[in-house]
Symmetry: C2
Subunit: 417 residues, 2 copies
């Protein structure tokens, strides 16, 4: 008997290792917005944000090759590339955020952000939403709701109800921003009453994992006011919206119109090379560096810096932020025109789309739809409570021509259900 790949994975990686789709795809090759499996079947990648400027972009590959052949050390020696990169990256950020700690994963970046808030405030209370994910370290996984931690959640963590598009907090979209802020204020009061005090709220500005709320500018105004009044920090997880994906702006928080104290970035930063960063104002960085020792061996190594710089080059030179805005508008038009009785809401934050379905068993309906689409050669997935929202978050070179392929295939799949 030949061992299947799934069996081999279970033998070598253990049980419960997540894969996508009922029949996991075995991807072998990538180019731009396209992926091919081991049998040569081609898929339009409507999902992967890590390959931000397109799978195997030659510019990024070349930068990695050239630097890996020249030098790969660490930041305990001087090197220009990591400084060149932090200089260019922070130039895209406003709000006085001008310094960075380079790490390897978004989880490491968020783990640091929590300690930055602790260093600044001297408090430990943390707030996140009750339907999110910010990473997988022991500390950061406390903020994730996918599975409660063994032994229960840490007492210094409060999860407030996540805002939603179809069932908004407070009963209406108009009331939701204030209701969310009121819940944050209540959580702060609890943390203070219990002696933890309040250090920070960690948020994705477009509420990506919560089902992609894609809120309007100003939505977080009342929450920011509540946080500021309590002396806490805004930790802005830009792992999904950042690097131009939201289209209108380079950063999600600028699209929303608020000033974070700490910004964390990861996945798309170097088109798949493992690198991430925690960015902050000098006063926040100084408080952290005064309170904690920190060094990351791989973080900011010359190869990572070269990959990061090349990714920024491509975003700028290929105009990918503007392209995201254009494709977003075009695909939204196509998605709004989809015909199916279960479609309840269509929304986007730039090149990040959610189509929410309603009715009994909506989550199962979307799960089946996802499988149909994979069979048809389109990779996408679902999010939100009950997984009733179809999630599309393609590489940034995804254009109107790909949007048409996707929308046509979606309508065909919907017609059969």
């Amino acid at each position: 008997m030949t061992e299947t790949v799934a069996e081999r994975r279970a033998r070598l990686m253990g049980p419960n290792v997540p894969t996508f789709y009922r029949s996991p795809v075995h991807i072998q090759r990538g180019d731009g917005v396209w992926l091919w499996d081991k049998d040569g079947k081609r898929y339009l990648d409507c999902y992967n944000n890590v390959a931000h400027v397109g799978h195997c972009h030659p510019r990024v590959v070349q930068a990695i090759c050239a630097q890996a052949a020249t030098l790969n050390t660490h930041t305990r020696y001087h090197h220009d590339l990591v400084l060149d990169y932090i200089e260019r990256l922070t130039a895209t950020l406003d709000h006085g955020i001008s310094q960075a700690i380079m790490v390897c994963t978004g989880s490491e970046a968020n783990d640091l952000a929590l300690r930055m808030a602790q260093a600044v405030t001297g408090k430990t209370g943390i707030i996140a939403t009750d339907n999110t994910y910010h990473g997988n370290t022991a500390a950061v996984s406390q903020l994730s709701t996918r599975r409660p931690p063994i032994g229960g959640r840490a007492p210094n963590v409060r999860l407030v109800p996540a805002p939603e598009a179809l069932h908004p907090l407070g009963g209406s979209r108009a009331a939701q921003a204030q209701t969310f802020a009121d819940n944050v204020a209540r959580a702060i009061a609890e943390l203070q009453a219990e002696g933890f005090g309040f250090s920070a709220i960690m948020l994705c500005p477009v509420f990506a994992n919560e089902g992609l709320l894609a809120p309007e500018p100003g939505f977080l105004g009342p929450t920011v006011a509540v946080v500021r009044k309590a002396g806490g920090l805004i930790l802005c997880d830009e792992v999904q919206p950042g690097f131009g994906r939201v289209g209108s702006h380079f950063w999600g928080h600028d699209a929303l119109g608020f000033a974070p104290d700490v910004v964390t970035v990861g996945k798309p930063m170097a088109n798949g090379h493992p690198v991430a960063a925690c960015l902050a104002r000098p006063d926040v960085m100084a408080a952290f560096r005064d309170a904690f020792g920190y060094f990351n061996t791989f973080g900011g190594n010359p190869v990572s810096a070269a990959a990061c710089l090349a990714t920024l080059d491509v975003i700028e030179e290929e105009g990918l932020q503007a392209r995201a805005a254009q494709t977003s508008a075009y695909l939204m038009e196509r998605l709004r025109a989809l015909r199916h009785g279960r479609i309840a809401d269509v929304r986007a934050a730039g090149l990040f789309f959610g189509v929410e379905f309603a009715g009994d068993g909506a989550g199962e309906f979307v799960a089946d739809l996802v499988e149909d689409m994979v069979a048809a050669g389109f990779l996408l997935n679902r999010i939100g409570r009950n997984g009733a929202t179809l999630k599309m978050r393609p590489p940034m070179p995804f254009g109107p021509e790909h949007a048409d392929l996707l929308a046509d295939a979606l309508q065909q799949a919907l017609d059969k259900r």
Copy 2:
């Protein structure tokens, strides 16, 4: 006024970012055991274990280039390379350790190891030594003694006195193994009395950060017995000794002769590409996977797996483990022949050397010696309490010809002091 690199670092990275040496070196290029700074000055690398098979090894560079140009995704799709690698890596491990979770840094691997122990035992008490470092996540940094965490150390962590070569626990090297075990037993009893219970001890088998004890086989026998009796796990941090560095064996724990429950690996694993892993027996992995959800976006991606496989290829094909053993014996002979009144001990764990100096101001003496050696074109550093131990841990292709250069330069530097 032109901004210096140090000033630029402070502006972009913040204060207190660690560099090596009083005048940090600005490294530009690497090849094998050699590094060149921006002025073309050549250094013999006697320090960097990350560039395990030599700086910019063409085989690893080529593997990274080829795979980066073909596909770089994640383990939610099937792919063979990550499985090929785990299969080959676990084949080097005994003690039933046959499964792995691929991550990006040793810190992430150790952060996972702590949760594995928690999942298996249902307890949270953790023991490490009082002069060590196992990583930089919020959870793992609790085990590091470089700087106590803000707000104090977590109450479930106990740091026991680190064994030492010159001032052994219990007053003699013969007594030290038992005294160390007795202290672990006392810490376990305390954790149990305080309600945390005992989950695990985390140890580097050669006590690298503690000053490179490089203990004899069997040293940890009494400690392992104490841990087993209490139902705890041995989490073996092989980030420094692993991958053949100890020379006599592929793994440090096999050189010492004990069976760990979890093995963590990092830095040298892919010659500088950011990858690490947490390896365990299937029963430990199953307990973890049952208790915690875990996915790491970059962990085990095809490029990382290709870099890991190429690094293993080079270790095997170039016979680097045997070379480490040979060079170790040769350089130890040379180090033992060094003439200086302050030299108190010379020890090695394969291609990892410590020369400990004694007397008033020994730490300062070694600090000055390190600077002299850097000026002479040799990169090394110091470890141990007061930093009185000269630390040499070169890339694995370091051979007798390099050992001669190093020993000659050391004697010259010592002659001047």
